[in-house]
Amino acid sequence: MATSAAKLLPKEEFILPGTRSCAACGLMLTYRHALKALNPGKTIVAVPASCMTVLHGVYPITPVKVICINNPFGATGAAASGIAAGLKALGHDDYTVLAFAGDGGTYDIGIQALSGALERGANFLYICYDNEGYMNTGTQRSSASPAGAITSTTPILAKLQHKKNMIGIIEAHRIPYIATASPAFPLDLFDKVRTAKSVHGSRYMEVHAPCPPGWGFPNKDLIKMGKLAIDSGIHVLYEIKDGVFKLTSRSLNLAEKGRKKSIAEYVKGQTRFRKINQDQIDYLQHFVDERWSEFVQRHHRTD
C-alpha cells in the first residue's frame, strides 16, 4: 500500500539539528526520508568522501543517529559488500546495509566497485543521490551533469555531452530492484526505500537531489525545482522490480494526463543554464521527449 499522506510517515527524526550541510540540501532531505523508511537501529551506512561526509559531521560529533562508515571515494560498493559479508559471517542477518553516494562516487570513480558488487549480488541497498556534479569540491562537471550546464570545469562552453545513462548500466546487472525518486515526492521516496529494504540482494535507487548552490537557485525553491524536474520529464519516477517497469507517483500522473512543463521552464530558474541557447534547449527537449515516450511505452508494455 502506498503511503497516502505525510502525516503517516514515522515521526522520529534520525538527522538532528546541527548538520554541516548547506541550507535546503536535496540529499539531506533524501537521507532523512530514507532513514525513516529503514530501521536506523539496525542499519549500517557506507558513504564515500562526499557531501555525506560533511553532513555526518566533524569528529567527535555526529548529528545522525545511525552507524556510518566513511570510505575512500571509489570504494563505496566494495565497502558495502564487505560490511554485508562481515555481518553475515557474524550472524547479524537482521541488519540493512545502506550505501549512500553521490553521482561522482557512483557514475564516475565508484562505478567499478559498484558494478562488481552488483554482479556478485551483494546484499545491500545503494542509493545514489544525484546532484549532477562534484558539489562538495565546488561544482565540477561529472558524467551526471546535464548538457548545457555551466560547471567550474566547463566554465565557458558549458557541458557539451548528455548525462550518462547510469540506470541503463545498472539494469544490465539484472538486479532485483531498481527505482528512481525525488525528495520533492517524499511519500514515493519513502515507499520505494521500504520496498527496497524488503528485497534480498543488490538494490539500487537513484534520487534526483537539487542543489541550490551548485545549480544556482534560491534555497526556498528546493521543492519547486525538484517538482519541475519531474514535471518537465528531465527526471522520471519509476521502479523496476524483477525486470518489470512501472512509472510511479507524479510521473504516472503525467503519463495518464499529459506532460505539463517544458525544459525551457526547468532551465530558466537555474543560473547553471545561464548560457544555454535555444538550439541547446531544443536539443535537450528532444532528448527528454524521446526518452519520455520510451518510458511511457515501456510502462504500458508491462501492464
Binding site: 561526509t53 567527535p60 545511525v66 566494495a78 564487505g82 560490511i83 559479508a85 556478485r120
Partner: protein, 395 residues
C-alpha cells in the same frame, strides 16, 4: 604426531588462513598469488572453511571490502602481489588508519613497467610507509607460522599485518612444512573479540572528517585531532616490536618452533662480519656465510623479519661487535640505495659501533642470485672498498 606435508608457500598461506578460522576472504587474482585465492575458494566452496568469500573485481575493492568486514568485527584475509598491491595503496593507508586487524599475504613480485611476473621485493617495500606491520618470511614454514602469529599481533594492537614471502622462490616451490593442529591453533589464537560499538542503536561515525586540533565531544571531553590519532598509530607500531616478540615466544612454547621474533641470526655469535638481508634472500645468505667461513672469514647472517616496525635496537645490538656489514636486498629506492641499507645505516649512526658498510641490490625481476655470487661480493666488501652497487648487471 606431527603433520608434515610437501607443499608450496602459497598452500601454506591458504592453510594458515583456514587454521585461523578467517570469516571473510576477499581477493583478486594476480600471479604469483593466485593459488592462495584458488585454494581458499575451494576450502570455502567445499564447506571445510566456514567463511564469506568475495570474488571482487579489483585489488582496491579486495582491500576495501576486508577493511569494512573487519570494521564490523569479522576476521579477514586477503592476498596480493606487485601491481595488485600497488592498486591497493590508498586502501592500505585506510586499513592502518582505521586500525583494522587485517592480515594479508604479499607474494613478492617485481613491479611493472616493464612487466615481470618474477620475484623481487619492490612491491611491499613501496608500501612500507602505509602504517602496516611487515613481516618477511625466509621459508614456507615461516609463512604458515607467521600468518598464525600475524592474527595474534594484529588483533592485539589493531594494526594490519602484511606477511611477505618471495614469489616463485617460495610461492611455487614445494618444501616440507609442518602443519599445526587445529586444536593447538585454537588455543593459541582465540576468536576475535567483538567490536565495541557495532550494536543496535549505537550511533557512530567511523573515520569521519577530523580537524587538526583536539575538539570537545558532546560531554565536553576533549577528543584527539588528526595528528594525535596518527601519533597513536606511530607509538603503537613502535611498541608492538615487543608484541611481535611475545607472539613468537608464545608460539614457540606451544608449537616448538620460532621465527626469531623481530630478527634472527645465523652464526652471529662469533661473527666479525655480518651479512644483513630479509626474505628468502637472507636464507640464501646463510649459504654464502658458510662459503666465506671456508675462506677463513668469521661471517654471520642477520635476517630482518619485522621490517616495519623496524627493530632498530635489536639490529644495532646484534651488530655491536662486527667490523663490517654487507647488505643484500631485492629492492631499491630509485635515485638512492636499497631501503634496508638506508634504514640500517641510519640506525647505526646512533650506535657506538660504526662498522664498514656496503650494500648491494640483487635479483630484481627474478634475476638469479647464487650463493657463490653473494659470497664473492661479500668477500670484496669485507676485504676491499666500501661499495653501494647493483650486482649481476649483464648488459
Amino acid at each position: 604426531m606431527s603433520d608434515v606435508r610437501i607443499i608450496t608457500a602459497n598452500s601454506a598461506a591458504a592453510l594458515a588462513a583456514k587454521l585461523c578460522r578467517v570469516q571473510v576472504v576477499s581477493a583478486y587474482p594476480i600471479t604469483p598469488q593466485t593459488p592462495v585465492t584458488e585454494e581458499l575458494a575451494e576450502l570455502v566452496e567445499s564447506g571445510e572453511l566456514k567463511a564469506e568469500y568475495l570474488t571482487v573485481e579489483s585489488e582496491h575493492s579486495a582491500m576495501a571490502s576486508v577493511v569494512a568486514a573487519s570494521q564490523v568485527g569479522a576476521r579477514v584475509f586477503t592476498a596480493s602481489s606487485a601491481n595488485g598491491l600497488l592498486y591497493m595503496h590508498e586502501m592500505l593507508h585506510w586499513a592502518a588508519g582505521s586500525r583494522t586487524p587485517v592480515v594479508m599475504a604479499c607474494v613478492n613480485r617485481g613491479v611493472g613497467a616493464p612487466w615481470t611476473i618474477l620475484n623481487d621485493q619492490q612491491d611491499s617495500i613501496s608500501q612500507r610507509d602505509t602504517g602496516w606491520i611487515q613481516l618477511y618470511c625466509k621459508n614456507s614454514q615461516e609463512v604458515i607460522d607467521s600468518i598464525i602469529q600475524a592474527y595474534k599481533i594484529a588483533e592485539q594492537v589493531n594494526i594490519p599485518v602484511m606477511v611477505c614471502y618471495d614469489g616463485f622462490i617460495l610461492s611455487h616451490t614445494t618444501t616440507p612444512v609442518e602443519i599445526p593442529s587445529q586444536q593447538l591453533v585454537d588455543s593459541y589464537l582465540p576468536p576475535r573479540p567483538p567490536v565495541i560499538g557495532i550494536s543496535e542503536y549505537t550511533h557512530m561515525n567511523v573515520n569521519p572528517l577530523i580537524l587538526s586540533d583536539p575538539r570537545p565531544d558532546v560531554d565536553g571531553k576533549m577528543a584527539p585531532g588528526y595528528m594525535d590519532i596518527r601519533y597513536r598509530l606511530q607509538q603503537d607500531l613502535l611498541s608492538c616490536l615487543d608484541v611481535i616478540k611475545l607472539a613468537d615466544r608464545d608460539f614457540h612454547e606451544l608449537f616448538g618452533r620460532t621465527c626469531g621474533g623481530v630478527c634472527w641470526g645465523y652464526k652471529m655469535t662469533d661473527a666479525a662480519h655480518a651479512i644483513v638481508s630479509f626474505g628468502s634472500l637472507a636464507s640464501e645468505c646463510t649459504l654464502a656465510a658458510d662459503l666465506l667461513r671456508q675462506r677463513g672469514l668469521r661471517v654471520g647472517v642477520l635476517g630482518v623479519r619485522s621490517y616495519r616496525p623496524f627493530p632498530k635496537d635489536d639490529l644495532v645490538k646484534a651488530l655491536e661487535a662486527v667490523e663490517t656489514v654487507t647488505i643484500f636486498e631485492k629492492d631499491v629506492s630509485y635515485g638512492y640505495e636499497g631501503a634496508l641499507a638506508m634504514d640500517l645505516k641510519s640506525a647505526l649512526y646512533e650506535s657506538a659501533n660504526h662498522p664498514r658498510f656496503s650494500s648491494y641490490v640483487a635479483g630484481l625481476g627474478g634475476r638469479d642470485v647464487l650463493p657463490e655470487t653473494l659470497a664473492d661480493e661479500a668477500y670484496r666488501a669485507i676485504t676491499g672498498e666500501v661499495k653501494h652497487a647493483w650486482i649481476n648487471i649483464k648488459n
